[in-house]
């Protein structure tokens, strides 16, 4: 019974960790695939439209290979906010993110992330209406299944000018992505921010430059913190499980003392009995780890982690229709083994010792 409880607890812990690791990997992969430096315009500390006139200055910075203007915004679709990205046609054509269907061939087509497609029940060939300042109809040309530089599993990607029209921006973009030569990341970011002090710099705000390293740190920290809080709850549970495991296994001691007393009459020593019982507990621990891992895999990959996924993705249903990315190597197996052994072996110490010390004469009278 103790082992069953441990397996269930492990399965939930490992499911959560696998979900968090999967999301962390995807997010970091997105950051790695993205620009070296991301430039935005801050007005009163909040992001505001970046004027087209600043793009040429950014493109001219030493070390910059290319400067790509983007519009990244949110539109309500199917009752939920969905990210919409407007990308220049030249970059869309260069994009090689794994897609199902065809590439975009004209401005009336969009690429849809698979998570958005599942949430809105859309597919290749479906018609999509983007309605912000202006309503525009698009056809879904392909579904994005993998991480790409400009595409995302969670976004709708259309051509830049179409995005301008939808959001009503005529001479501005929301941000500029700078692709730089190796090793120039920090220098370009610093140079971009120095533009604020250059003669003729626009007023009414500040140019902010965020490097890939800073973004990676922010992404990693947010996932780490969430994963840490989740694991901390289970760590408390595991800490309580250690004495609980001991107490539950102690209840199974009485019938074993008779058997052990008998074994000692036939020549088993206390050390032999200890070895046997300790090995049994080791097998229980390893078995619980393996079962917990298998259960977690099924819970996550086959069932979509119901009751758990909503903790990691806002606005997700308790029983989600979509499968979230989950990563089962290398962390979950190690944690499974660590947690299982750290509960079963110390938890059963006292019981094992008491059981093994049973004297034949005490037990057999």
């Amino acid at each position: 019974m103790a082992a069953c409880g441990l397996v269930v607890a492990l399965a939930l812990l490992l499911s959560g960790i696998a979900l968090n690791e999967g999301q962390r990997r995807d997010s970091l992969a997105g950051v790695a695939a993205g620009p070296a430096v991301r430039c935005t315009w801050l007005s009163f500390g909040h992001e505001a439209p970046l004027a087209d006139t600043q793009l040429s200055a950014l493109a001219a910075l030493p070390g910059v290979v290319r400067c790509v203007p983007l519009i990244v915004g949110r539109i309500e679709l199917g009752g939920r906010p969905i990210e919409v990205r407007g990308v220049p046609w030249s970059e869309l054509a260069r994009e090689s993110g794994a897609t199902r269907g065809a590439r975009v061939e004209n401005e009336s087509e969009v690429l849809l992330g698979v998570e958005v497609a599942r949430a809105l029940d859309l597919g290749v060939g479906s018609t999509l209406a983007l309605d912000a300042r202006l309503l525009r109809l698009f056809t879904v040309a392909g579904l994005v299944e993998d991480v790409g530089t400009f595409v995302s599993r969670k976004a709708v990607v259309c051509e830049l000018e179409e995005a301008r029209a939808v959001f009503g921006l005529t001479d501005a973009v929301s941000e500029a992505w700078l692709f730089v030569r190796d090793g120039y990341e920090a220098a370009v970011a610093e140079a971009a921010e120095r533009l604020n002090r250059a003669p003729g710099a626009p007023l009414g705000g500040l140019l902010a430059a965020e490097t890939r390293a800073v973004r990676a740190r922010a992404v990693a920290r947010s996932h780490d913190l969430r994963g840490g809080h989740f694991a901390a709850l289970f760590a408390v549970a595991l800490a309580l499980a250690v004495p609980a495991f001991g107490a539950l296994s102690y209840q199974g001691v009485a019938p074993r003392r008779h058997a052990i007393g008998l074994m000692k009459t036939t020549g088993w020593s206390t050390a032999d009995v200890l070895e046997l019982v300790a090995l049994e507990n080791l097998v229980i621990g390893v078995g619980a780890a393996a079962l917990g891992l298998a259960l977690a895999w099924c819970w996550t990959r086959l069932l979509g982690a119901p009751l758990l996924a909503w903790l990691f993705v806002p606005d997700l249903e308790v029983f989600p229709a979509q499968r979230l990315p989950a990563r089962f190597t290398p962390l979950p197996p190690v944690i499974a083994l660590v947690a299982a052994l750290a509960v079963t072996l110390p938890g059963s110490l006292w019981t094992t010792w008491r059981t093994a010390r049973a004297m034949p004469s005490e037990v057999l009278h």
Partner: protein, 346 residues
């Protein structure tokens, strides 16, 4: 303190490990004091042989199996702690990227003393605990023949417990310590500017110890030596060949030399070849990129540790069979590790 799932579970593990190590130290000290007390009582009573045997029986019967249980649990926790600690280090990389950290090695350069203590004391504690269990098994066999357990066993148990406690404390201190203060430079400056300059010069020769022919020759020699030792009193059916303590000393010396050769080979030959970067000599990065090599590294480290056991067991009074078993175990581990390395070299 960086709070992520890996760190939280590692804190739990090392916390439990600390408690078990503390219990092992307490049990060892209790056994030592009990033995000393009985020795005094025995001398006072002038019990002769009976007093001596009473001392041997009471101390070992009362404390030996419990110590064995505690040290076995400690060894198991230390063993699973090794990959977990590495994963913790690896997990810190993105969060410390703005400090110049690019890989797990870079993470180790923040709070390096605590990292080193954790990485060194842990395997030492595991070694001591596993060795104690081997001693206890040999002592149990001697006990079955009528001999008594040795007092040095209790000292070794105390040592293993103390090492485990120190390692757990160092690990917990590392997790709690702030990490955002230090900045690290590119790991290409691993061994200092002068050495880095040497490495960047294609004309510089690598250490001879790391040459592939040296590594594979030493592996073959070690395998032969372990195979011979594993046969105890015979050499493939040729009876009468006895391997004395000098052979065990030679085997231990070979294992120690092999440790240095292996490290040089992995760093100077294997890492650049597998990673595809001629000047990138980082074992951490190698383990990150190729997970099979992590298992190989563990096998080879355990093989070399086990290869020193025949000498220590003989010193502790083993007649040869326990040492032969250790040699056979070491051979299996060494061959497993070597096979995985060979596959990656092809």
């Amino acid at each position: 303190m960086i709070v992520d799932a890996r760190t939280v579970i590692a804190v739990f593990l090392f916390g439990v490990s600390a408690l078990v190590a503390l219990a092992a130290c307490g049990a060892a000290l209790r056994a030592i004091f009990a033995r000393a007390g009985r020795a005094r009582a025995g001398r006072a009573r002038d019990g002769g042989i009976r007093g001596g045997r009473a001392r041997g029986r009471s101390a070992w019967d009362a404390h030996g199996p419990l110590l064995g249980l505690l040290l076995a649990v400690l060894a198991a926790l230390q063993l699973v702690g090794v990959p977990l600690f590495y994963l913790v280090l690896q997990g810190y990389v993105p969060g410390l990227a703005d400090r110049g950290v690019m890989c797990a090695y870079g993470v180790t350069r923040i709070q390096p003393e605590l990292v080193r203590m954790t990485q060194v004391l842990g395997p030492l504690a595991l070694y001591a605990a596993a060795l104690w269990l081997a001693f206890a098994s040999a002592a149990g066999e001697r006990e079955a023949q009528g001999g008594a357990a040795r007092p040095l066993h209790l000292a070794l148990a105390l040592c293993a417990g103390a090492l485990g406690l120190a390692q757990s404390a160092a690990a917990l201190a590392y997790f709690v310590a702030p990490k955002g203060v230090t900045e690290v430079t590119c790991c290409g400056a691993v061994t200092g500017a002068a050495a880095a300059a040497l490495r960047l010069d294609p004309g510089t020769r690598d250490s001879n110890f790391g040459a592939p022919w040296v590594f594979w020759s030493a592996q073959l020699l070690l395998a032969l030596a372990l195979g011979l030792r594993g046969r105890a009193g015979t050499v493939w059916g040729v009876r009468g060949v006895r391997l004395g303590k000098f052979s065990d000393l030679a085997l231990a010396a070979l294992a120690c030399g092999m440790a240095w050769i292996s490290y040089a080979f992995w760093r100077d030959q294997l890492a650049p070849a597998v990673l595809g970067l001629p000047y990138h000599r980082c074992v951490y990065e190698l383990l990150t990129e190729t997970r099979g090599l992590g298992f190989a590294a563990l096998c080879q480290a355990m093989a070399l540790a086990l290869a020193t056991w025949p000498l220590l067991l003989r010193w502790a009074g083993d007649a040869g069979e326990a040492g032969a078993r250790a040699a056979r175990g070491s051979l299996v581990l060494a061959l497993s590790g070597a096979l995985i390395v060979a596959v990656h070299c092809l």
